[in-house]
Each structure stands twice: as structure tokens, then as C-alpha cells.
């Protein structure tokens, strides 16, 4: 279990590096490949099966395709776009911090000592099980998580407009 947790941690850090620090295409894609390989290793160690491994292999091939086609593009080797100004950066950071808070709330409820228990939606009681899922005992938590996710996404989408200097 410790090995798979380490692999997943490495995958998260590599993915974060790929997105946040990867203004150079090759470095960004190298970090992304590291993340996919770490996820594949973690899935192997927890015995997730052939399909999960095949899916991660497909994702790795997709990254290789992006790298191959990225080399063919004129200005993809270095992100030529202006970084956002400080106010936009802070606002986006707050929006994504709020989103991370919503995810953290969800995870705390999903933890073994949390309030959420996995349910099985079989074909006989599907509608009733879905109703219990969304309007059951932890509907308040679901509403809070949904509001946090929606607010974070909406704020981030609105902040995408009119940032930086126009060329």
C-alpha cells in the first residue's frame, strides 16, 4: 500500500509540475508522461487489472502524439502568451483554492470514518438508490460540495476573459 501511495503522490506532483511550471512543451509533456507512468505503476500495485493498465498506456500514447505534433507546430515549443497580471493570478488562485476546498470536503466525507458509504445501483432499485444518493442523509454535504465546485468553476471561467495584454 505504501508503494502505491508513493506512486500516486509522485503522479500528482508531476501532473502539477506539468501544468503550472510547464511553459516549455517538452518539459511539460515529460512531466505528464512521468505522471501517467506513476499512475500505471500504482494501478499495477493495487491489482487494478489489465484494462486500467491498457487505459494508461493509451493515455501515454496520446501524450506521445501531442509531443510529436507539437514539434511540428511553429510556436508550440515555448508558450508565447503573456502570463496574467497579479490581480488575475490572485483571483484565479482563490477560485482554485475554493475548488480544492470543495474536493477536500468531499474527501473527508469519503474517508473510512466519513459519512459517505458506497452504494450499489443495481437494475431493480436504480431510481430509489439514486434518490437516496442525492437526497438522502448526506444531501447537505452534497449541496455544499456542488456549490463549492460550481462557484469555483464559474469564477475561473469568468476570470479567463480579458486577461493579459492584447497583441
Amino acid at each position: 500500500m505504501g508503494g502505491s501511495a508513493t506512486c500516486l503522490l509522485v503522479a500528482f506532483v508531476a501532473a502539477l509540475l506539468s501544468v503550472v511550471l510547464g511553459r516549455h512543451l517538452t518539459r511539460s509533456l515529460f512531466a505528464a508522461v512521468c505522471a501517467v507512468v506513476a499512475v500505471g505503476a500504482a494501478l499495477l500495485s493495487v491489482g487494478a487489472g489489465f484494462a486500467a493498465l491498457a487505459a494508461t498506456t493509451l493515455l501515454g500514447l496520446a501524450l506521445a502524439t501531442i509531443q510529436l505534433f507539437g514539434w511540428m507546430l511553429v510556436d508550440a515549443d515555448r508558450d508565447p502568451l503573456e502570463p496574467p497580471d497579479a490581480a488575475t493570478w490572485i483571483a484565479r488562485g482563490l477560485a482554485f483554492g475554493m475548488l480544492a476546498g470543495g474536493f477536500g470536503l468531499l474527501l473527508s466525507a469519503l474517508s473510512p470514518s466519513g459519512v459517505i458509504e458506497p452504494v450499489s445501483l443495481d437494475s431493480r432499485g436504480g431510481a430509489a438508490a439514486l434518490g437516496a444518493l442525492f437526497f438522502g442523509t448526506w444531501r447537505d454535504l452534497a449541496a455544499i460540495s456542488g456549490l463549492a465546485l460550481g462557484a469555483g468553476l464559474l469564477a475561473a471561467l469568468m476570470l479567463l476573459r480579458d486577461d493579459g495584454r492584447e497583441h
Binding site: 502539477l16 506539468s18 503550472v20 493495487v46 487494478a48 507539437g70 508550440a76 473510512p112
Partner: protein, 105 residues
């Protein structure tokens, strides 16, 4: 919920957050494609977490088929996105997503 399932679900949510970051923060279409790929990767990890909590072989097999479909859809979506990026670069010479949002007659 088992410890392995919780660990995989946590990682899936974390990678989804990173994918959203890449999709919404970056203005380069290539960077957004990488963010989109992380979104699909998070779906694979989350589904693997749900599969790990299944008890019957039949449920696990169904979930594995779903994981494979997710990987295929991601590969096809990246191919489609790359073709759009190539067409965009050939037409406008830029990978700026904000520029790509302009309407053209």
C-alpha cells in the same frame, strides 16, 4: 470503503483538480489539451478505485470495460483536438485559445 479505494479516489480528485487547472489556467491550446488528458486520467484512477471496492467478478469486469472505453475516448479526443490545433495554426499561426474564441464568418 477499503483503504485502496479511498487512496485511488483521493488521487483521482487531486488529478482532476490539476486537469481543471491546466484546462482553465493555460491559454495555449496544447496546454489545454494536456489538462484535458489529466481529466481523463483522473477518471481512469477514480474508476479503478470503484472497481477495487467491488466484490463480484462480474461487476469488476464491467468496470474494467468502462475503464478501457474511457482510455479510448481520451485518445480519440486528443487526436481530434490536435487536428483542430493544427488547422488553427495553419490558418492563424497561433495556439492562443483566446484568439481561437473569436467568431469568424
Amino acid at each position: 470503503m477499503s483503504e485502496a479505494s479511498f487512496m485511488l479516489l483521493s488521487a483521482g480528485l487531486g488529478i482532476l483538480w490539476v486537469g481543471l487547472l491546466g484546462l482553465l489556467w493555460r491559454r495555449s491550446l496544447i496546454g489545454m489539451l494536456v489538462g484535458l488528458l489529466f481529466g481523463w486520467l483522473s477518471l481512469v484512477v477514480t474508476l479503478a478505485g470503484f472497481i477495487a471496492s467491488r466484490e463480484s467478478v462480474e461487476q469488476a469486469t464491467t468496470g474494467s470495460a468502462l475503464v478501457l472505453c474511457v482510455g479510448l475516448v481520451c485518445a480519440l479526443q486528443v487526436a481530434l483536438g490536435l487536428s483542430l490545433v493544427l488547422a488553427r495554426v495553419a490558418r492563424r499561426g497561433s495556439v492562443d485559445a483566446q484568439d481561437a474564441g473569436l467568431l469568424e464568418g
